[in-house]
C-alpha cells in the first residue's frame, strides 16, 4: 500500500525557485516507490488554495503539504484538515503562530532569519553607517512581509546608523524593481546600499544603477540566491545574498511528510540551512540552477 501525499504550492511559474521546487518535489516522489503524490498549485490565490485543501481532503490523502500563499489566511483551513485527521506539513514559509497547534511540522527556511542575515551583511558592507533603500516582494505575501520585518528589526538593532530611506515593492519582478530603482536614483543623490527581497529584484536594481553609472557606489544585497545574482557576484558587482536551495526545500518537505505519516518523530520546526553567500565565500556554493 503506497503512501498518498498531497501538496498545494503557492504560485508555480512566478519565479524559477518555485518551478525548481516543484520539479525537485516530483523527482523525489518518483524516486520513492512507496509514495504517490498529488501536486497542485494555488496560483498565488488564497481562496483557491483553500479549495485545493478541501479537494485533497476529499481524495483522502494521508498528509497534506501546504506552501501557504498567506501565513495567516490558511490557519482555519489547516485546522479543519487537522480535525479531519489529516496531518499537515507546512513548507517554505511558515503559517502564523495561531496555526502552530494544528500542524504536524514545518519544513523550510526561516524567512525572518534570512532578513536578519541580510541586515547583518548590510551592516558589514557599509561599516555600520550609510543610507539605503529597500525593494520588497509582492505586497501582502508572507515571504515578503517576513523578510522585510527580519531585515528592518535586525538593522535597527545591529547598526542603527544605517538608515532605510525608502521602501517600495518590486513584486518579485525584475523589470518592476528596475523601474523602482530608477526612481530612487533620481530621488536620492546618495544611496549606499540596496536590500532586495530576492536576487531577481536585486539584479533589476543593479541594472538600473549601472545604467545611471552609479553601481560602483552601491552595495547590493539580495535573498534567495538566483543564477543571475551568483554571476553578478562573481563579477564583483553584487555584494551578497542568502543561499537557499529549492531542491533541499522540496526534499526536506517530502521527507518530513513521509516521516509524519509513518509515525516517526519529527521536530516541529524543521528548518534547513540558508547560509549567507558573499563574494568571498561563493566558491563554496554551486551556482544555482534557476
Amino acid at each position: 500500500e503506497k503512501i498518498k501525499i498531497g501538496i498545494t504550492q503557492n504560485n508555480v511559474g512566478v519565479d524559477s525557485y518555485q518551478t525548481t521546487y516543484e520539479k525537485a518535489f516530483k523527482a523525489a516522489a518518483a524516486a520513492d516507490p512507496n509514495v504517490d503524490v498529488v501536486v497542485l498549485d494555488a496560483g498565488g490565490d488564497v481562496a483557491r488554495q483553500i479549495a485545493q485543501i478541501q479537494d485533497l481532503t476529499q481524495q483522502k490523502v494521508q498528509a497534506i503539504i501546504i506552501w501557504p500563499t498567506n501565513g495567516k489566511a490558511v490557519v482555519p483551513a489547516v485546522r479543519k484538515a487537522h480535525e479531519a485527521g489529516i496531518p499537515v506539513v507546512i513548507t517554505n514559509s511558515n503559517i502564523a503562530k495561531e496555526g502552530m497547534p494544528y500542524i504536524a511540522a514545518f519544513s523550510g527556511p526561516n524567512n525572518i532569519e534570512q532578513g536578519k542575515e541580510a541586515a547583518d551583511m548590510m551592516c558589514k558592507a557599509l561599516n555600520n553607517k550609510g543610507d539605503i533603500v529597500q525593494i520588497a516582494g509582492k505586497p501582502g505575501y508572507t515571504t515578503a512581509i517576513e523578510r522585510e520585518k527580519g531585515f528592518e528589526d535586525e538593522l535597527a538593532k545591529a547598526c542603527p546608523e544605517v538608515k532605510i530611506m525608502d521602501t517600495q515593492p518590486g513584486d518579485w519582478n525584475r523589470e518592476k524593481s528596475q523601474r523602482v530603482m530608477e526612481d530612487f536614483l533620481v530621488k536620492y543623490p546618495k544611496i549606499d546600499g540596496v536590500y532586495a527581497a530576492d536576487d531577481n529584484m536585486g539584479v533589476g536594481a543593479l541594472n538600473a544603477a549601472k545604467a545611471a553609472g552609479r553601481a560602483k557606489d552601491i552595495k547590493f544585497i539580495g535573498a534567495t540566491n538566483f543564477a543571475v545574482g551568483y554571476e553578478a557576484m562573481a563579477k564583483g558587482e553584487y555584494y551578497g545574498s542568502v543561499y537557499q536551495s529549492p531542491v533541499d526545500d522540496a526534499e526536506n518537505a517530502l521527507k518530513t511528510a513521509i516521516d509524519v505519516v509513518e509515525g516517526k518523530k519529527v521536530p516541529k520546526m524543521n528548518y534547513f540551512k540558508t547560509p549567507e553567500i558573499t563574494q568571498e565565500n561563493m566558491k563554496q556554493f554551486t551556482k544555482p540552477v534557476f
Binding site: L40, A47, I50, Q54, D55, V74, V75, A96, K138, G140
Partner: protein, 329 residues
C-alpha cells in the same frame, strides 16, 4: 426573453448552450476520475463556486443594464478584511459570537456604499462604467492596503470559520446561501418591475429615458446590489478561510465576467438570465474542480480554461446562426 413562448427542449438548449456543456464535462469527469462523482465533491464544488457565483448574480444585473463592474475583486478583499478585523476589535471582546455581527454588517455596508459610489459616478458624470470601475478596481485595492497596512487578518473566533464549513442537512451553509441568493435575484430580474426595467435600460437606454424610467437611480441600485453581493462574497470567503488577506479576490472580476458571459448575458446589455449565469458559474467550477482532481498541471489548466472559454463562444455562435440567408456583415 419572451417568457411566454414555450420552447422545445432542443430550442432551449440552443439558447442556453452552457447547460449542454455542463452535462458534457460532468459526464466526462465522472468517468475520468474516481473522486469526482461523490456527494462530498458536489458539495465542495458548490461551496467553491459560491464566491464567484454570488458576485456573478449581481454582475448579471449590472451587465444587462449595459454596464460592467470591474471593482468587485477589490470589494471582496475590502469586505473580507473589514469583516475579519472588526470582529476582533477589543470593543466587541465580550460579545461572544455576536462580535461577528458588526464585522459582517460593516463589510456589507462598505460594499454597498462603494457600489453606490460607482453608480453615482456613472450616473452623474456619464463616464462609461468600464472606465469608472477600472479606476475603482485600482482605488479600492489601494483602500484595502491603506486599511490593512499590508497585513492579513485572521479570525480568533473559530466559530466564524466553523460557520463557513457548516451544513444545513446535506447542503453546506454557504452553498445554501448562494442558492437562496440565486433564487432571489432570479425573482427580482424576471418578475419585478425593477428587473424588467433592467432589461429596458440595457436594451435601449434612450428609450428608457424617454419612457420616463429614472435611469440614473435605477443603474445606481444595480451597482449597489453588485457591491452588496461582492461584499457578501467577501464575507463568505473569509468565513471559509477564517481569515482575510489584502490580495484576496485578485482577478475575480475576470472570472465573474467570464461566467456571466458564458451564461449568455450580452456585453452590450439588454439580454441575459440568472439561470444562464448559474450555468456559467457551475461550468467554470466543475472544470476547475475536475482538473484539480485529475492533477492537470497548472500550466495546462491555464491553456485549457482559456481555450474552453473561446470554444463555448464559438459553439454559441454556431448554435445561434440564423442560417444561410443571414446578411453577410
Amino acid at each position: 426573453m419572451s417568457h411566454s413562448v414555450l420552447k422545445s427542449p432542443l430550442g432551449w438548449l440552443a439558447g442556453n448552450p452552457i447547460w449542454g456543456f455542463i452535462a458534457l464535462i460532468f459526464i466526462f469527469f465522472s468517468f475520468a476520475n474516481p473522486y469526482f462523482f461523490a456527494l462530498q465533491n458536489f458539495q465542495n464544488i458548490l461551496v467553491q463556486t459560491s464566491t464567484i457565483g454570488v458576485i456573478a448574480l449581481g454582475m448579471t444585473l449590472v451587465m444587462i443594464n449595459g454596464n460592467i463592474d470591474l471593482s468587485v475583486g477589490a470589494v471582496v478583499a475590502l469586505a473580507a478584511s473589514l469583516c475579519v478585523d472588526i470582529q476582533g476589535w477589543s470593543l466587541f471582546a465580550d460579545w461572544g459570537n455576536w462580535a461577528i455581527l458588526p464585522g459582517v454588517v460593516a463589510a456589507l455596508l462598505a460594499g454597498t456604499a462603494l457600489g453606490a459610489l460607482n453608480g453615482l459616478i456613472v450616473w452623474k458624470t456619464g463616464v462609461d462604467a468600464f472606465i469608472v470601475t477600472l479606476g475603482a478596481m485600482l482605488g479600492v485595492r489601494g483602500l484595502v492596503f491603506v486599511y490593512t497596512k499590508e497585513q492579513s487578518f485572521f479570525a480568533m473566533n473559530f466559530s466564524f470559520s466553523d460557520f463557513g464549513s457548516s451544513s444545513i442537512g446535506p447542503i453546506p451553509t454557504l452553498a445554501a446561501l448562494f442558492l437562496i441568493c440565486t433564487a432571489i435575484v432570479h425573482f427580482v430580474l424576471s418578475r419585478t418591475v425593477h428587473g424588467r426595467n433592467t432589461y429596458a435600460v440595457g436594451g435601449n437606454r434612450s428609450a428608457a429615458v424617454n419612457a420616463g424610467i429614472r435611469v440614473g437611480p435605477h443603474m445606481m441600485i444595480n451597482f449597489m446590489i453588485v457591491g452588496f453581493l461582492a461584499a457578501l462574497a467577501g464575507v463568505t470567503l473569509s468565513s471559509q478561510m477564517g481569515a482575510a488577506t489584502p490580495n484576496l479576490g485578485t482577478n475575480y472580476e475576470l472570472w465573474v465576467i467570464t461566467s456571466v458571459v458564458l451564461g449568455g448575458t450580452k456585453l452590450k446589455g439588454g439580454a441575459g438570465t440568472i439561470t444562464g449565469t448559474l450555468g456559467g458559474v457551475l461550468a467554470i467550477g466543475i472544470l476547475r474542480n475536475g482538473m484539480n482532481l485529475m492533477q492537470v498541471p497548472a500550466f495546462y489548466v491555464l491553456v485549457i480554461l482559456g481555450s474552453i472559454l473561446i470554444a463555448v463562444l464559438l459553439l454559441d455562435k454556431q448554435l445561434n446562426r440564423k442560417g444561410k440567408e443571414e446578411l453577410r456583415l
